[in-house]
């Protein structure tokens, strides 16, 4: 039996560290946002504009447009997309009880990719009124519908008698991904050179097309999905003990799965639709946070939103400055920075991956 002296030294508490991290990440996000407004292809500087405003001078027409219509919506979109990808990654890892899971598992990526390719290659075949209705939002709308549709299909396949099997979902996702890849291949085969170029750049991901219209379209969906996801903290903690034990400690496991899958499909679908394929944020961010402050999802999920937004905004800054005045697709930046971190995770967690 334990002596009472055992009880006297209180153990270190990672929860308070995670909460402190919350404020540090919020500050980092503010700094990254300022950097994002400061740099760009034109010689408009946030710092110079602020100095002008302080001295009571009015902003020029060009400065106004660059700041309010180009950089600010781009910043807002980076924030939304980064938060969406990082939180979706953390939720998927919790749901599949695997630190290497990402939103691609529920078929969002494959479905969204197929939707985008359909729009790019066959969009010209649509009747004129439909093209006018969609305007230049045809690709994002098709990508969102493709991602959302494939997730719903997977969810239906994996759910029997009111219970969703995450293992079935994983396997069906691989099959659906292969099918979507093959259909995309057919479309790539019949595409012309300009369409191929569009396809390639869509796949690399970019925030370059950011506009207030896109922010208004993706923002509410992402905000709603993230709001729902952040409430899953306690349920995902319980699920770490296994599905049966999660139910024993009072969690409605089936409802949690449905909320998690729909939230991830919504957030990732909207993010991919407006920014294309941006990899590694969803895997790297939650892992870094687990190393820093432990796996408690109640703090992991909000911190992932903050860190994901910060890192994506910084990646966008890098994408804009390294080969200015041209810019790199942001997916290249996140992959170059994220892939080494991912390899590092694999090396550290080899035991876990090998089973």
């Amino acid at each position: 039996m334990a002596a009472l002296t055992d009880v006297q030294a209180p153990p270190r508490d990672r929860l308070s560290r995670a909460r402190a991290l919350h404020w540090a990440l919020a500050a980092a996000l503010v700094l990254a946002s300022a950097a994002s407004l400061e740099v760009g292809a034109t010689d408009v500087r946030l710092s110079a504009l602020l100095a002008k405003l302080v001295q009571g001078e009015a902003l020029g027409q060009m400065e106004r447009i660059v700041l309010l219509d180009i950089r600010l919506p781009r910043l807002a979109m980076g924030l939304l997309v980064g938060a969406a990808l990082a939180v979706s990654g953390a939720v998927m890892q919790g749901l599949f009880r695997n630190p290497l899971a990402d939103p691609g598992i529920v078929g969002v990526g494959a479905g969204a990719g197929l939707g985008a390719i359909l729009a790019i290659v066959l969009g010209g075949l649509l009747p004129v009124w439909a093209r006018d209705l969609a305007g230049n939002q045809l690709v994002p709308v098709a990508a969102f519908l493709g991602g959302w549709g494939s997730t719903l299909l997977l969810y239906r396949v994996a759910t029997r008698g009111g219970r969703t099997s995450v293992a079935t979902m994983l396997l069906a996702g691989i099959a659906l991904g292969a099918l979507a890849g093959a259909l995309s291949g057919i479309l790539v085969y019949i595409a012309d050179d300009q369409q191929l170029r569009d396809l390639t750049f869509w796949g690399l991901g970019s925030l370059a097309g950011a506009s207030w219209a896109k922010v208004a379209a993706a923002g509410p969906m992402i905000a709603l999905a993230l709001g729902a996801a952040v409430l899953l903290g306690r349920a995902l903690n319980g699920l770490a003990l296994g599905e049966a034990t999660a139910a024993h400690i009072g969690i409605d496991v089936q409802r949690m799965k449905a909320v998690a899958i729909l939230a991830v499909a919504g957030a990732t679908g909207a993010a991919v639709a407006v920014s294309g394929g941006i990899g590694f944020v969803g895997i790297v961010v939650p892992h870094l946070l687990r190393l820093a402050s432990g796996p408690d999802h109640r703090t992991l999920l909000p911190n992932a939103a903050l860190l994901g937004a910060t890192l994506l905004i910084l990646a966008d800054v890098i994408a804009r400055v390294v080969i200015a005045p041209a810019e790199l697709p942001i997916g290249i930046v996140t992959a170059i920075l994220g892939a080494p971190v991912f390899l590092w995770i694999l090396l550290r967690r080899r035991g876990l991956v090998d089973g």
């Binding site: 039996m1 334990a2 055992d6 990672r14 770490a240 003990l241 296994g242 049966a244």
Partner: protein
């Protein structure tokens, strides 16, 4: 107050693993479920905890569990599974807190450490769960379960501990420690149902014993009436002889006496 199961039937892939089992467990008692491998012990516990789809009715403290929400069940009973794998590197104290948050002990900061102290692991509170040995991990899970139903009786209603082979990976000292914890919980007014493999520990600690064989209830009663040569030999399919030496009034089982 009691936990009563009536006519429980469970099917796995066409095979009927439980063929209409009745069980009545009283608060204040340790009720052991024994029987050979594959007799349906864990399946019965799965039905009692609403984990497995089943026919028949289970009433917990007078309420049908089919109509209860997961969090209502979690406030009245805690379940210790046979083995636990944890997905992320939680620390020992954090694991115990997961149990506490599910029960009615709320956020009382002293409960998780007290629960760990009870299983003799308070000094491991800061360690990562995955770094523990199998036996230590099982005791941490018992602490988690205890933290969930910290008060054996609350507002006149007993809380329940449902334990699936709680001593399976423990050395003999810790087997006794864990069974003593279960007994103290029952003596304080709570209810305990434990699936047991070890017939001697069952004889030592159980107030009531239910013997399962081939998906049916073979016998139920006190250890003295149930742990007999005839019943055990029939249940386990080999000749067993139960002995009770004069000074101790507790039966014990001699595998030496088994003959084909």
């Amino acid at each position: 107050m009691s936990l009563i199961a009536e006519a429980i039937r469970v099917r796995y892939g066409g095979r009927e693993v439980l063929q209409g089992v009745d069980l009545a467990a009283e608060a204040g008692h340790v009720t052991a479920i024994v029987g050979p491998n594959g007799s349906g012990k864990s399946t019965l516990l799965g039905a009692l905890t609403a984990t497995l789809p089943h026919e028949g009715r289970v009433r917990l403290n007078g309420r049908d569990i089919a109509g209860m929400k997961p969090w209502e069940l979690a406030a009245e009973r805690a379940v210790l599974p046979q083995a636990s794998r944890l997905a992320f590197p939680f620390r020992v104290l954090e694991v115990v807190r997961l149990g506490q948050q599910a029960g009615t002990a709320g956020d009382r900061p002293d409960v998780p450490l007290q629960a760990l102290a009870r299983v003799g692991l308070a000094h491991h509170a800061d360690r990562t769960f995955q770094d523990l040995s199998g036996g230590e991990a099982q005791r941490v899970m018992l602490a988690r379960v205890l933290a969930q139903v910290w008060a054996p009786v609350e507002e006149g209603r007993p809380r329940w501990l449902l334990l699936d082979e709680p001593v399976s990976s423990l050395d003999i000292a810790h087997q006794l420690q864990v069974m003593e914890i279960a007994r103290r919980f029952a003596r304080a007014g709570g209810g305990v149902i434990a699936v047991m493999h070890d017939l001697n520990l069952t004889a030592l600690f159980a107030d009531r014993v239910a013997v399962l064989a081939e998906g049916r209830l073979l016998a139920t009663g006190t250890p003295r009436t149930v742990l007999t040569d005839t019943i055990l030999s029939r249940a386990y399919g080999c000749a067993l002889r139960v002995s009770a030496p004069p000074p101790e009034d507790v039966p014990y089982i001699l595998p030496h006496a088994a003959s084909a």
